[in-house]
Symmetry: C2
Subunit: 173 residues, 2 copies
DNA sequence: ATTACTGTACCGTCTGGTCGGCATAGAAAA
DNA sequence: TTTTCTATGCCGACCAGACGGTACAGTAAT
């Protein structure tokens, strides 16, 4: 059911995320959807929760591949965010614009961000963590909204730069 | 008329930007609104155009206050973005989530970003321009969506850091 | 027969958009 | 000066469609 909802979101955008559309995509009737989710907001909450969980999992996965040096949490975060646009990214991006207009739906997202900051800042000077975090998030958000002015070459150079900064800091020319 | 639309957007969010609401806010009837804007999209286009123009103007204003050293364009951009949330910011933020779902409405925004990058990169190494740009945009977008995990103290420190990096580069610890 | 679920039909509301008409101000005509 | 015409700006009633949500009958498995 959630898969169907995500498919709708990815294909037609979150504005078109209607109960009928989800039902059609899932091969059931609207009554069927309403049986599982008492309201549309409940469906959105579930989608948000899943997107958050997946982001978390992606970061953990990257963390597992890195040695436990200080700053590896930040590095893992960057690598998880930077990878080629995943399915989850497209879901998140489309969801964000709808969820943003409802504070109640946003609060888990806010909490996610609030908890992530200390996690990725571990063992790293504040300036570096903040800068890398913001730049990574900026890149992510700009690609989400498809307003990134960078071409492919520039993007990969930026990713390299972010990875280096995350891992060991450095000088900005 | 546009002022009324912006007022609605700022007060109730862009999802509530309905022709009736604009009419009510402007003290006219819906017919009156439709007289000036043939469709809702036309209204949105005008709002987007105005928001873009204001962002542009804010950057130019900052640029005028700075000496013409290389990198001053980047510095001016950072200062314009970093200032306390203006009216335009609130309009932009609310608009973004609605406009994002319509590629046709997004294209002027994309163009704006595409033209801004070379403008602010002038006379500055790519790495610095990209990093500062992304971090600034990340900060702006995260505050827009109210997901910024930074407190007031951290925010002002970040702003200081961004301004310094924009003006003269530096070392990230 | 009970449970767990599905499908159909329907309702109320909201929204963008249409349409014909009204008022007023000024130009043109008398 | 008075009358007629016209363009502008706006009003109010209405429509069609979409949407979230409800009610209820039906069904298949246990």
């Amino acid at each position: 059911m959630l898969d169907a909802a995500e498919a709708v979101v990815v294909e037609h955008g979150a504005v078109r995320l209607t109960l009928d559309a989800v039902a059609r995509e899932a091969g059931v009737s609207k009554g069927g959807v309403m049986y599982h989710f008492p309201s549309k907001n409940a469906l959105l909450e579930a989608l948000v929760a899943r997107a958050i969980e997946r982001s978390h999992a992606a970061r953990e996965a990257q963390l597992g591949k890195l040695p436990g040096a200080p700053g590896s949490a930040l590095h893992a975060y960057v690598r998880a965010s930077i990878n080629d646009p995943l399915h989850n990214d497209r879901v998140s991006s489309a969801l964000l614009s709808v969820v943003a207009s409802d504070p109640k739906l946003m609060s888990p997202v806010r909490e996610f961000f609030a908890q992530r900051l200390p996690a990725i800042s571990e063992g790293v000077p504040f300036d570096r963590a903040a800068l890398v975090h913001l730049a990574t998030e900026g890149l992510w958000l700009m690609e989400l909204f498809r307003v990134s002015p960078f071409n492919k070459t520039q993007r990969s150079r930026i990713k390299q730069l972010l990875a280096t900064l995350a891992a060991e800091g450095g000088t900005v020319p």
